[in-house]
């Protein structure tokens, strides 16, 4: 019984309660607009890319690494779509190709981290510049916008009969896959062990390098997918798409209760974190709160989250072991 109660006393629970509070306050303050189908559709579109990238990134952070290059991979895939489209490729070929390139970008990150043992923070700051740079090389200052409406209309139309945007649908499918992968599979067990104590994981016969490599590749591929979503829903392929998005994604993951040192976190918490950040932002904008306040609130939420997370967790101190 006490066990049950203690189990409930978690950050994830607090997040869900906060979400509910935002929803109630939101519909009260905006006279229902906040929870209207149309607004939820916009909200879903707004958080789509962040939610997508947050899924694999959560796994990477749980494994004790980080990937700051995700937004650049998004930009690179956007630029690539534009370039290939201009070159006359059919979209049906471009999209899978872009996913492969995204996976390759992830593989480069992963190989630098695993085979050379470089810290991922440093590596992905480097590839953040590199991939964004390659995007600029590809597309320069031009924008490609003449994508067929059949491919771009999901940016303005929900799934028929609902208010669900298509990217959220994709995200939900991926969330189930990543949830099972992280929380129910032996791969996930290995991921947690690596994040909490890499050496012990290696001594347990876990293939540390391979696991990390797979996670980076997945992150790259999903970031490229987010790039596809971004490009098509705005119908605009540009090299600077998604600039600076990496901090927003990392913030959402951390708000979701994932330990930056690895070894702890849940995918559900992260999704709640994404929703909370996006929902609050949407609400504040709808409520005509100034951009300054919006920025401050985002930061304070992150601070409050990490502090609350610490005081709610019953795990003893001394878990500051880095990866």
């Amino acid at each position: 019984m006490a066990d049950r109660l203690r189990g409930l006393l978690r950050w994830e629970t607090a997040l869900v309660l906060l979400l509910a509070a935002v929803a109630i306050a939101g519909s009260a303050r905006t006279g229902g607009t906040f929870l209207s189908g149309q607004n939820l559709f916009y909200l879903g579109l707004d958080i789509g890319e962040i939610a997508l990238i947050a899924l694999p990134l959560t796994c990477v952070i749980v494994a004790g690494e980080i990937d700051l290059s995700v937004a650049s991979v998004l930009g690179l895939s956007s630029a690539l779509i534009g370039t290939l489209w201009n070159a006359g490729w059919p979209l049906e070929a471009i999209l899978p190709f872009v996913l492969v390139v995204g996976a390759l970008c992830g593989a480069v990150n992963g190989l630098l981290v695993t085979s050379l043992g470089l810290p991922s923070l440093a590596v992905t700051i480097g590839t953040l510049a590199l991939y964004r740079g390659l995007a600029l090389v590809l597309l320069g200052d031009t924008a490609v916008a003449d994508f067929p409406a059949s491919y771009t209309k999901f940016g303005i139309e929900p799934v028929p009969g609902t208010w669900l945007p298509y990217p959220i649908l994709a995200c939900a499918v991926l969330a189930v896959i990543f949830g099972v992968l992280l929380h129910a599979s032996s791969f996930g067990r290995a991921t947690f062990a690596i994040g909490a104590n890499t050496e012990a994981a290696r001594f347990s016969g876990i293939r540390v390098k391979r696991t990390k490599l797979v996670l980076f590749v997945l992150t790259g591929a999903v970031a490229a997918l987010a790039g596809i979503v971004y490009t098509l829903r705005f119908s605009s392929a540009r090299a600077d798409n998604g600039n600076g998005l990496e901090l927003a994604v990392v913030a959402a993951v951390l708000l979701g209760g994932v330990s930056i040192f690895g070894g702890r976190g849940t995918l559900g918490g992260v999704l709640a974190g994404v929703l909370l950040l996006g929902g609050l932002r949407n609400l504040l904008i709808l409520d005509d709160v100034s951009t300054e306040t919006l920025t401050v609130v985002t930061g304070l939420l992150l601070l409050a989250g990490v502090l609350a997370n610490r005081f709610l967790s019953s795990v003893p101190a001394g878990r500051r072991q880095p990866p």
Binding site: L118, A122, I125, L294, L303
Partner: protein, 343 residues
């Protein structure tokens, strides 16, 4: 170790020891070497690059990032990180400019003091949350990155302070020089030397390394971990605040966006400078050199006529190359150390 009461120093181990001692210096020398190669190579292609004005520009461009890298190093050594430096700089730059425009008559030191005080206030906030809340600094400073920038936005309210409004004294600090060396470069140099000396030769400096190397052991060793980490953040804040005031002096035109995104550049400089991102080792000298190297590289790319669209990609590739080479060298070193160990 062996059990026999052997003489305290065997020649093989003395060797190994010297090797390690040198490893740190080798790293700094390595960066300095690369720097020389880069400059010399570029100067070959374009002789103008080696002229005093150009060298001065290189140093000047690096000085603010290098200054921030000094503060960042102090934090990173303790196994923490301060991502809010860009926002602190922005806030300090704008407030300093705003106050300077309103009170033009004060001595220049007063303007710098304003910047430093703002920085200390921000750094103290970071330090308090990190050390009292015992929460990861990356998350905390990612949060305050937004908070401080938001305050900056609120304070600036979409306006801008122009060079024409600023006192002459402040501006001449930004553009003036002593014996041909710009003031900003001198200030940065001073900060590097002081921090280097402190971290190397003082108990509290060594304690910062100890904390970063093994936080739990530091507690058991009786080190006031919370206080030291707090102080590290306060210093980093103060330095970022000073950098903000210098930013105002140098650029003259300041709006709320000053220093946006600088944090990643600073972290990159620190990493290239050989400071371990997970604490415990590295020097401010290396970090400052790292900053100089990165800004020199981007300067060179312009001079060498690398097309604008290629510059960022090349910078990224070079950054990766730098940390890779550093890693390979230190692996080699570790291996030769192991071999000598039993020699």
């Amino acid at each position: 170790m062996t059990v026999t009461a052997a003489p305290p120093e065997t020649p093989g181990k003395g060797n190994a020891r010297r090797l390690i001692d040198r490893a740190g210096r080798i790293r700094e020398l390595g960066i300095a070497g690369v720097l020389v190669v880069v400059i010399a190579g570029t100067a070959l292609a374009n002789p103008r690059f080696a002229e005093p004005q150009s060298i001065r520009d290189l140093l000047l461009n690096a000085s603010i990032i290098a200054l921030l890298a000094v503060g960042q190093t102090i934090v990173v050594i303790t196994r923490n990180v301060d991502l809010s430096v860009g926002s602190v700089l922005g806030l300090s730059a704008f407030v300093t400019a705003d106050l300077a425009a309103a009170h033009r008559g004060l001595p220049v030191v007063a303007y710098l003091a304003i910047g430093v005080l703002i920085g200390i206030a921000c750094g103290t906030g970071n330090g308090l949350v990190v050390s009292l809340g015992r929460v990861p600094s990356l998350v905390v400073t990612l949060g305050t990155l937004y908070v401080f920038r938001g305050l900056d936005f609120a304070f600036a309210h979409g306006t801008q302070v122009n060079a024409a409004e600023l006192p002459e004294g402040l501006l001449s600090l930004g553009s003036g020089r002593v014996l041909g060396v710009p003031h900003l470069v001198l200030i940065t140099l001073l900060a590097v030397v002081v921090a280097w000396f402190f971290l190397r030769s003082y108990r509290s400096g060594r304690e910062l390394y100890a904390i970063g190397s093994q936080p739990e052991a530091a507690v058991l060793a009786g080190i006031p971990v919370g206080r030291r980490v707090f102080a590290a953040f306060a210093v980093s804040g103060a330095i970022a605040g000073l950098a903000g005031a210098l930013w105002t002096a140098r650029y003259g035109t300041v709006d709320a966006a000053a220093g946006t995104g600088l944090e990643l550049q600073v972290v990159a400089a620190v990493v290239v400078g050989g400071v371990a991102i997970f604490g415990g080792s590295g020097s401010v000298l290396g970090a400052a050199l790292g900053a100089l190297l990165l800004s020199t590289i981007s300067g060179c790319l312009v001079v060498l006529g690398v097309p604008a669209f290629w510059q960022q990609a090349v910078t990224g590739a070079l950054l990766l190359a730098a940390i890779t080479v550093d890693r390979v060298v230190s692996l080699r070193l570790a291996r030769s150390l192991r071999r000598r160990n039993h020699g």
